[in-house]
Symmetry: none
Subunit: 202 residues, 4 copies
């Protein structure tokens, strides 16, 4: 396995800005051209630096993508984590709504980048960070299911979790990509919440 960690932590503000420019350029090129055509030269050019500079901070192309995934999933995780607290004492409907809204917000952070990462990156390169977001979402759902266990319409919790997690993930992901027109009002959240609640609860 090759090295994936950044090469040096930039301490001066000049290099801090350089690293930011490189990551931003990586995101843009990834979105515009896809993983395959996202060459390090193109990224460097887009960032307004030379390739050499890029390689001062990242040992190879994948390290670049990893750093980007990390940054992106941090942003998503922050939103999800903020909602976890709200789950505790909420009713089942309220909790469902919280989860759905959190997932929608998380996916709306940077939908094109998310899409580029999820469906352009070779599978073996969809790094831990991104998978961690789904793990986090699944954890939220399990907390929910445990907490409301006695009200559930099913006792196959394993399958219910599978269904809920994949459904919410798929719908929120598809919505931000394909139907941004659905995002203006609360209606989509209402509908997904209803979908989940009617399925889960007696």
């Amino acid at each position: 396995m090759t090295q994936l960690d950044p090469r040096r932590k930039p301490r001066q503000s000049r290099s801090r800005a350089t690293v930011d420019a490189i990551l931003q350029a990586t995101a843009q090129v990834l979105v515009r051209d896809g993983y395959q055509k996202a060459t390090t030269n193109r990224i460097a050019e887009r960032a307004g630096v030379s390739v050499g500079t890029l390689y001062q901070y990242f040992p190879n192309k994948d390290a670049l993508v990893v750093a980007l995934c990390e940054q992106h999933s941090d942003e998503m995780m922050t939103l999800l984590s903020a909602s976890i607290a709200e789950l505790q004492d909420a009713t089942a409907e309220r909790a469902t709504r919280v989860i759905v809204r959190a997932m929608l917000q998380a996916h709306a952070v940077n939908p094109e980048l998310h899409e580029a990462i999820i469906s352009n990156l070779p599978k073996e390169k969809q790094f831990e960070q991104i998978l961690a977001v789904n793990a986090q979402a699944e954890a939220m759902v399990r907390v929910f299911l445990e907490h409301h266990r006695e009200r559930l319409a099913t006792d196959n919790i394993d399958m219910a979790a599978f269904i809920v997690v994949n459904t919410v993930e798929a719908l929120t992901h598809a919505a931000v990509i394909e139907r941004p027109d659905f995002l203006g009002t609360e209606e989509l959240v209402d509908e997904i919440t209803r979908l989940i609640c009617r399925y889960l609860l007696k």
Copy 2:
């Protein structure tokens, strides 16, 4: 735009066999090594022919992938189409079950290949054929929704279609890939059917 159609329609059986071998090899290499490492030389080698021969039947690498997508989506479409007839006079629950089961069967045709196509191929190469499958599924759902319009719990048919199509697609796809243990019994079909029906119907 480059040429994407196969170069010669193979009419003789020897040629036919060669083309089949090449497509099969493409699928295998795609699944085993991913799109990036699926070089034309490797595919030819796996197919037991020379690169030259490969290029006699396919003008370039993309044509190879297009043909494979076409073949794969044909197989999926066949399964879906077979079920459409059953929708006409069925109850809403019955029709939902038919759609869900058809989607599950369609995804089970060659899950690894489907996965390789969906999540390894650069987005711009996920050609019409594959998208057509989803279009077909969506058509089935619309037929269903129109037919049972008066029983629906919602009147935003657009959003309902979006939700149903994406949910069924996501769950059947995820199931064949991640949870083959769910496929032995009818339970998963039961659950997804319940999920959809409870959501849609008054």
Copy 3:
């Protein structure tokens, strides 16, 4: 460790010729420009082929050098081996002369290449093959010392072997490089033989 073996054994005569051209070009460029400046592009150009062709037969630059070392040391070893038989029943003086002459001939095979390999290659790249030649020479000397043990002026055979091997190696190597004018007559062989015999024998 990276792969060092050649990539494909050339079977057709066309590719056999290509491989020969590449190896020959490698030798020439190594001699003319040294290891550092012997770039694969320069070697390919000198061989009259494209880089791609070079890489069809050799997986990387070092594999090229290894193959060359192998070829070169084979030639040297052949000469040394041919002389080993003569050692058996010879007098000490005669045997010494045989070894010295064999070493001189071996070093004269392609002195510039030998020099380029020995003193231009980074130490960690002076591959087994070349070292094997010295091992072979040392083996010859040990056979000699064992055989004439009772006539030796010293009983520290270890140190005697060290001295003889290094002396003969250094003198024959230096002669072909620095003093080709010494090679026309038998005089140099006479002198080295005398040097060794006077030292070794009572």
Copy 4:
């Protein structure tokens, strides 16, 4: 031709210390990593200064190596020169012993560095300074041969000088590198002295 002299003669003691640190770092990196991996950045880092500082004292990488060779050969030369005086009135055996011992001491000054210079540096970079050591050694031998001309067993002084110089050089070099265990006692000096004397003298 590029500039090879150090950029500024450091007169102040702080600069002097910096230059020393850089040269010492060069030697260490050369020994540890070899010429190829001895990058200027790595050397600067090892020396505890920035690359910029390194380039304030040395105009380019070669100047660095030249300075190092110079320093190293100065140390060796000092040892050799000290022994020349002793040659004048010594017997042939005594003089031989003096030369051999001096060469051994000279090679023992910093064997790893000597080895790194001799066998890792591209030939064209083994600068005058290092060659000067051999010239000095050869000069000593010639003084010796002239002085004892009437006792020599050969009248081909040219060839005798070639043999003696190369033999002593090779043996002392090989000994410090490969057989440090030979260096504890006087025995190796005894043996080499005997080798040379028996060869040279009637």
